[in-house]
Amino acid sequence: MGADLVIVHLYPDLLRTYGDRGNVLALQRRAEWRGFRVDVVAVSRGERVPRGAGVVLLGGGTDRVQEALGPDLRDRGPELAEAVGEGTVVLGVCGGYQFLGNLYVSADGVSTEGLGLIEAETRAGKGRLVGRVGATAELWGNRFDLVGFENHGGRTTLGPGARPLARVRMGGGNNGLDGSEGAVRGSVVGTYLHGPVFPLNPQFADGILKRALSPVTGGDDLQSLDDGPEERAHEHARTLHR
């Protein structure tokens, strides 16, 4: 009686500043509404990510918490790399996205190694990029509109091995300069958008779910849901200004 989908919320006690729980909830419910059995597993410091997880989610935290997580994250690199090798989707939001990269350089010049799952570097910038974001995303061959809210001091630059998740039409995105937002490399996805991002962008959520459920579905399309409330909220968010 195993679950069809195991969703791992990594460090839910510490990385959850911007409604990250809403992302877990959206994936969980959208799978359950289609009849899949879902387990949500909280994994904190010193605990292992279970084998066969469909999705691993890393949220955002305060700078202090993120620093304190450094040692545990270093130990977690190989484990997550192995999971990604087996097809697990890893999603990082805001601070969690920064962790997925190779390097984070703080305002006082201290470098912290990231998980190295995405070829990206983040440096603390002057001032924070705060406000609503509108973007066009492309993920694993699907194009869709993306809305959310960003609030980050770090500026992220992608290397040639990573592709942006989206192009912003409003908002700062990765660095406020090149119009890119988020990153994708294989089954690893990062974004600065919270809000949280999945409930307001059901196409994004379903893209993640379709891939995470593919061991069960053989990669078939997911049954469509009645997304009236989500679509109205998405459309309304599109009308808002920065």
């Binding site: 679950a3 919320h9 839910p12 006690d13 510490l14 990385l15 959850r16 500043t17 911007y18 409604g19 729980r21 809403g22 877990v24 909830l25 959206a26 969980q28 419910r29 359950e32 059995r37 879902v38 387990d39 949500v40 597993v41 909280a42 904190s44 410091r45 935290g61 305060t62 700078d63 202090r64 918490v65 620093e67 304190a68 997580l69 924070r128 705060v130 406000g131 609503r132 809210f149 609030n151 919270h194 809000g195 949280p196 409930p199 307001l200 409330p229 989500e230 109205r232 909220a233 459309e235 309304h236 968010a237």
Partner: protein
């Protein structure tokens, strides 16, 4: 003479501000006076015989200050206070513009962001800090940063001033315990509403809905709670460095609760029937009594004043509209929303609910916090729910994922309330849970009055 002239300028500006619907009409005059005479605040504060008390922190400022004012007035003292929750420097100055020259004591509610500079000007006799919750993320991205600001303010207190703080708030207490604060705590029965923190399994969210990320301020290790009264508050210790929280010198024990209306507390060995529900109000009450006691007012005198307390400006307000009873409560962060939701769900009179979430500057433009608020509990209430506010559509999505699609989604405040009234049984109360500007919009639609009757004027 000069101060009287300034008061006249301020009064005229206030009338204009109210007329123009700019806000509560209490901040603008103060801002003007501040510009004309930057020394006004320090001078008027220094003229108070019994000095000034400053109240700050994330939640509960307005109610705590208001309770304290009631206690002081019951002792026959004339109080200068910014009673409308206008808590930026302009509003604080306005407290003195509105007060008679002969005020004995000041009770000033001050926004966390400007607290250090206001403390340096006012040089209060006592500073009381309520708590530090996540709030207005686009303004204060890190709760630790707010705690640090509060500490800076506490360090600027004159040597003989008293610091009172919430000993149940590990983040706040750890950040200033070396300054020797006087603590207060609340003890509640185990079923007193603490949200369980499960490990999560199939079908259950992995973590408590409305708790903050909780880690030791010293070493970053996750805190272990042995007692929890509400989100983020209780007794905790750190298994990393051994830090342990403490029980405050002043303790309120929750004896029983009665939904939205009242709770019975044992406070400094006095039994107090507080005409306000909710564990957050137990914190506000014990804070006010602790401050009064430190000012030399016996606890039994303070508690008997609180029995009569009427929240003119608080988190909750009762209104009559079309002969229907409405209960209006401010929600602005997961912790506060959690306690309000708990109160609504335990009050059997509630017959319909409006959840109105707006995202104007004064609300915080980032509404992601609603996903950490315990709407899972609210949707279990067998009452119709209306989603409202400028972000009604997003609120509807939140409620859907909590387990129930709302019956009506309506951005217009009057239409939202009317929809709730239509669906409510005739003798039921309509509970309206609203963010700051959503609440102002509802008040304006119902009673034509946009006056601030809730916490936090973020003009």
């Amino acid at each position: 003479m000069i101060d009287a002239a300034l008061a006249a300028v301020g009064g005229a500006a206030g009338a204009f501000s109210r007329f123009a619907h700019l806000g509560s009409g209490t901040s603008l005059p103060g801002r003007l006076v501040n510009r004309i005479d930057p020394g006004f605040l320090a001078r008027r504060a220094a003229s108070l015989d019994q000095g000034a008390v400053i109240v700050s922190g994330t939640n509960g400022k307005t109610t705590t200050a208001s309770m304290l004012r009631s206690i002081l007035q019951a002792q026959g003292l004339a109080v200068a206070a910014n009673t409308s929750g206008a808590n930026l420097p302009g509003g604080v100055v306005s407290a003195f513009l509105g007060a008679r020259q002969g005020a004995d004591v000041g009770v000033l509610e001050v926004d966390e962001g400007v607290l250090p500079s206001v403390v340096a000007e006012v040089l209060p006799r006592l500073l009381v800090l309520t708590n530090v919750f996540r709030d207005q993320l686009d303004r204060f991205p890190e709760p630790e940063g707010v705690a640090a600001r509060l500490r800076i303010a506490a360090e600027r207190l004159p040597a003989d001033s008293i610091l009172v703080a919430n000993a149940d708030d590990p983040l706040l207490w750890a950040s200033l315990e070396d300054l020797g604060p006087v603590g207060f705590s609340v003890l509640a029965p185990p079923d007193g509403g603490a949200t369980p923190r499960g490990r999560g399994g199939a079908g259950a969210p992995a973590i408590a809905a409305d708790a903050e990320p909780e880690s030791c301020l010293r070493c970053g290790t996750g805190l272990v709670f042995t007692r929890r009264t509400m989100a983020g508050l209780g007794s905790a210790h750190c298994e990393g460095c051994g830090w342990t929280s403490t029980i405050g010198r002043y303790v309120a024990r929750l004896v029983s609760r009665a939904g939205l209306e009242a709770s019975v507390l044992e406070l400094c060995e006095e039994l107090l029937t507080l005409p306000l529900g909710g564990i957050h109000n137990a914190y506000n009450a014990v804070a006010a009594v602790a401050v009064a006691a430190e000012l030399g007012i016996a606890p039994h005198r303070a508690t008997s004043a609180l029995e009569m307390f009427h929240p003119r400006f608080g988190r909750a307000e009762e209104l009559l509209f079309d002969d229907r009873q409405l209960w209006l409560a401010l929600i602005k962060n997961p912790a506060g929303a959690g306690t309000v939701i708990r109160d609504v769900c335990t009050d059997r009179r509630v017959g319909a609910v409006v959840v109105a979430i707006s995202d104007n500057d004064a609300d915080g433009r980032d509404v992601s916090w609603i996903w950490d608020a315990d709407f899972e509990r609210l949707v279990q209430l067998e009452a119709p729910i209306v989603a409202g506010g400028t972000r009604a559509a997003e609120t509807a999505v939140r409620l859907k994922y909590a387990g129930r699609i709302p019956d009506v989604v309506e951005t217009d405040p009057l239409a939202a309330v009317r929809a709730a009234i239509i669906s409510c049984p005739p003798d039921g109360v309509i509970a309206i849970l609203a963010t700051y500007t959503a609440m102002l919009d509802v008040r304006e639609a119902l009673v034509g009055d946009r006056s601030t009757r809730v916490e936090d004027d973020i003009a």
